[in-house]
Symmetry: C2
Subunit: 182 residues, 2 copies
């Protein structure tokens, strides 16, 4: 099913991602054009405190044109490709001011595999201890604590409509439900 | 929390999306640069057949560099912005060759609100009747029937790792579970 890439033309180099246009040949011999965002990848964290609340963030999103409720997340630095855990620890500290005692992998997701390479590594963070809040200057975010089961319910409606947050929360919930069932 | 957009510069006009660079001023007075993909939006459909199986598609994804298992989905045409249902019906016919007797809204998701405007409208399709398969020439896809509960389990691991598919399937599952609980 694989496509044969004939040419790749870089059309934009950005701060977060690059954009290329590929001319490809499909297995059936047809030619096609693919517009591809090359993104370094990211992490997103379902962080559960000792009161059973998820630490979430509200922030204005230019692209969405509105404020969204999301789990803490961030883009991998160039040297973090092989260690998303390091990125997850950093982002948790930057966005909500906590250090995780335990960080469990929840797999990952392609956010829009039709046009971006971005893959988000998902984590469940527990045994949180407060640390210094170290927000990026160009991020204005507000910490919101949401009881775990209420967050799951909000993911089922549109109250949480950020894809990575929904997958991180529902996978974290499944970990706890499966553990309870033994 | 809103940002004040000072300038917007179009840097790429593509087949599927455009790319712009925005200079913005944050509520705290800081200047920041946003790289924004303007995307027309899309639909994704959890389509349940009378045997209790979800109709899913396997396809090679250039951006992911691999074959992914996804729910049927597609991009809104320019005249479909106000009627994603029309797009959902068309995509279901194009990708798996079925017409839905019933189409229920499952809300929607921003796939990557940090840099793309793409919002995917999610649907649960039932009462399916076979129709003519009308695949786009530049799509090579394979229909796969997955029992509903198995699909939910696969969403909890990495066997399904496409964000829109996971949200569509888990929200569709929640609809059935909530109906069962009354």
């Amino acid at each position: 099913m694989q496509e044969d890439v004939k040419t790749t033309t870089l059309v934009f180099q950005g701060r977060v991602f690059d954009l290329s246009v590929q001319e490809v040949v499909l297995p059936n011999g047809m030619a096609a054009r693919r517009e591809i965002i090359t993104h370094p990848g990211a992490v997103a964290i379902a962080a559960l405190d000792t009161d059973g609340c998820l630490l979430m963030v509200r922030q204005y999103r230019s692209a969405a044109g509105r404020v969204l409720l999301e789990v803490p997340a961030g883009t991998l630095e160039p040297d973090e490709a092989g260690s998303p855990e390091v990125c997850a620890e950093r982002e948790l500290q930057e966005e909500v001011g906590y250090k995780p005692g335990s960080l469990e992998k929840l797999g990952g997701i392609f956010v829009a595999p039709g046009y971006t390479t971005e893959y988000i590594h998902l984590f469940l963070a527990t045994d949180l201890t407060p640390s210094r809040l170290d927000t990026d200057d160009d991020e204005m975010i507000e910490l919101v604590r949401v009881p775990f089961e209420e967050a799951v319910r909000r993911c089922e409606t549109d109250e949480i409509c950020d894809a990575k947050s929904i997958v991180a929360i529902t996978r974290a919930w499944a970990v706890f439900q499966n553990a309870r069932r033994g």
